[in-house]
């Protein structure tokens, strides 16, 4: 595996520096080298939106810093939760006195570090409330929602939470909207090739050529089954068969679809899958209100796709419609 890095142990540092230089109109560094913030954060009178997570998921997480999106982000090592200190510093950077909504994904490390950060923030007088994304259907049965991982649905949670905050909502309203967003969102991924953490140097899981792993996690966490690789159309059907009954989605629903590549999947292939996804949804009477197709939440150079569907109501629609200006999601 030919990597384009300097010292493999400092890829996150180098990446963050480059990211700030390239996007100085949107993001700014903070005193904590692992925390980036929106150039205008804290935004006066606005609830702060914070997230964070392991690195290697570009544009997540730092790519969603921006106008009507996140105010500050804590960046961890590759695939590893940021420190409690980084989450705390992100909360500090985001808080304008209106409180902070920390919207993150359900992983053991993130849970612990956010928990410790929230405790410290409270001591400083910063009110933080959290929403924990758990949109990945494949990661636990429906009876154990609290065990499910957060995956690409987080992007929609940030979009909704970020928009709501910019509309002037208070902390409880922002939290309620973000919670509603994720509660109405279901995702599943299919992996077709693994990825390699630069400092490790070899893939830490395998997907045999000719096979695909349905339900795979963003860090290669094993999925629900390994199957011979199918056609793009069959993959679309299989993913929808997992997602649609889970919420469930029904005829008449209006939805947002987010179809993300896992990193190395050509965008062409993502559109081939999307073509069938929309066709099947149309057959079922489910209307795509808005589609996002592209590399929205990746895992280094893993191959495969994740499909995310969010059921809309008027409030969620209003939030989805709002313009956004972040590196990973720009909407005019």
């Amino acid at each position: 595996m030919n990597r384009i890095v300097n010292d493999p142990n400092y890829v996150v540092e180098d990446m963050l520096k480059g990211f700030v230089k390239a996007n100085s109109d949107i993001v700014a560094a903070t005193e904590n080298s692992r925390v980036l913030k929106y150039v205008n954060a804290p935004v006066e009178g606005k609830v702060g939106i914070v997230t964070g997570g392991g690195s290697g998921h570009k544009p997540a997480f730092i790519g969603y810093i921006g106008k009507n999106m996140c105010d500050a982000v804590a960046a961890g090592e590759i695939f590893s939760s940021p420190t409690a200190k980084a989450f705390l510093d992100a909360m500090r950077a985001a808080d304008s006195g209106k409180g902070v909504a920390c919207l993150y994904g359900n992983y053991a490390g993130d849970n612990m570090n956010v928990k410790m950060a929230v405790r410290s923030a409270k001591k400083e007088g910063i009110t933080v409330k959290t929403v924990v994304a758990n949109d990945d259907c494949a990661s636990a049965p429906k009876t154990e929602l609290e065990k499910r991982r957060g995956v690409a649905g987080e992007v929609l949670m940030w979009k909704v939470g970020g928009a709501k905050a910019s509309m002037g909502a208070d902390l409880d309203e922002v939290i309620a909207a973000a919670q509603k967003a994720i509660d109405n969102t279901r995702s599943v991924g299919i992996g077709t090739a693994p990825c390699t953490i630069p400092a490790v140097g070899h893939p830490n899981f395998t997907i045999e050529d000719g096979t695909m792993e349905v339900g795979i996690g963003h860090h290669g966490e094993p999925g629900i089954k390994v199957e011979p690789i199918k056609t793009a159309d069959e993959m679309a059907v299989e993913m929808l068969d997992i997602i649609l009954p889970d919420l469930p989605f029904a005829s008449g629903d209006e939805v947002v679809v987010l179809l993300s590549g896992l990193g190395a999947t050509p965008v062409m292939e993502q559109y081939i899958v999307y073509n069938k996804v929309e066709e099947v949804l149309a057959e079922k009477g489910i209307k795509v209100y808005k589609a996002y197709v592209g590399n929205y939440f990746t895992s280094l150079e893993m191959m495969g796709v994740t499909l995310t569907v969010m059921k809309l109501d008027d409030e969620l629609k209003e939030c989805i419609d709002m313009p956004a200006d972040s590196v990973g999601l720009k909407q005019l």
Partner: protein, 213 residues
């Protein structure tokens, strides 16, 4: 002699650092089987940073443990930052005002440390995690003292129990952490965190026993 001076025991922390550095690849390999393969990297980073902070400094055991705990908490994310951060922080606090480290002091150290891990992580033995090495080790140490064994003999019991506890994770289904999503597929593989716990408990005990000579 069954105890040793806090001020002369900074080497205990250096032993821990070397243990993690030596086992970096092994820990990642174990983690790679049912986790994301970075346990060795995460641990090595925190322990090596601690080593750099300690280099050329005078420090006693409790100070060394305190710096180790704080470094993990502030500079290392993942699960290991908070879990081992609390572990070593609690150990340090339990001995920071002691000049002599004896069996009773160490009993407080290990008991508080294990409690701290359970508190922050919400896991329990049998979940296939750190605690599967830590809890049996602590229990064996306490039981040995109860049974009248001396500090060094109790540490021997601790080491045996830590090893057995670690090995028992192979047969377990993960109930916590990334691997918990695997269900049956997580069985048949050792737990990465239990592996590092076993290695560090062994290192701790060995270092202390050496100080008693």
């Amino acid at each position: 002699m069954m105890n040793f001076k806090n001020s002369e025991a900074g080497s205990v922390v250096l032993g821990l650092i070397k243990t993690i550095q030596d086992n970096k690849d092994f820990l990642s390999e174990v983690d790679g089987k049912i986790g994301d393969g970075d346990h060795g990297i995460n641990m090595n980073k925190g322990f090596t940073m601690t080593g750099e902070k300690l280099a050329g400094k005078e420090f006693n055991m409790s100070e060394g443990l305190s710096i180790l705990g704080a470094t993990l908490l502030e500079d290392i994310g993942g699960s290991m930052g908070p879990l081992y951060g609390v572990f070593f922080d609690e150990m340090s606090m339990a001995c920071e005002d002691k000049e002599e480290i004896d069996a009773d002091v160490f009993k407080d150290m290990i008991c508080n440390a294990v409690d701290g891990v359970m508190d922050i992580g919400g896991a329990k033995p049998g979940d296939k995690c750190l605690l599967d090495a830590m809890v049996p080790a602590r229990d064996a140490f306490c039981a040995a003292l109860e049974a009248g064994k001396d500090f060094s003999a109790a540490l021997d019991d601790l080491k045996v129990a830590a090893k057995e506890g670690w090995q028992s994770t192979e047969g377990m289904i993960a109930k916590i952490g990334r691997a918990s999503r695997l269900g049956e597929r997580s069985r048949g593989v050792l737990d990465a965190g239990a592996t590092s716990s076993y290695l560090m408990l062994t290192s701790l005990a060995d270092s202390m026993q050496a100080l008693m000579k």
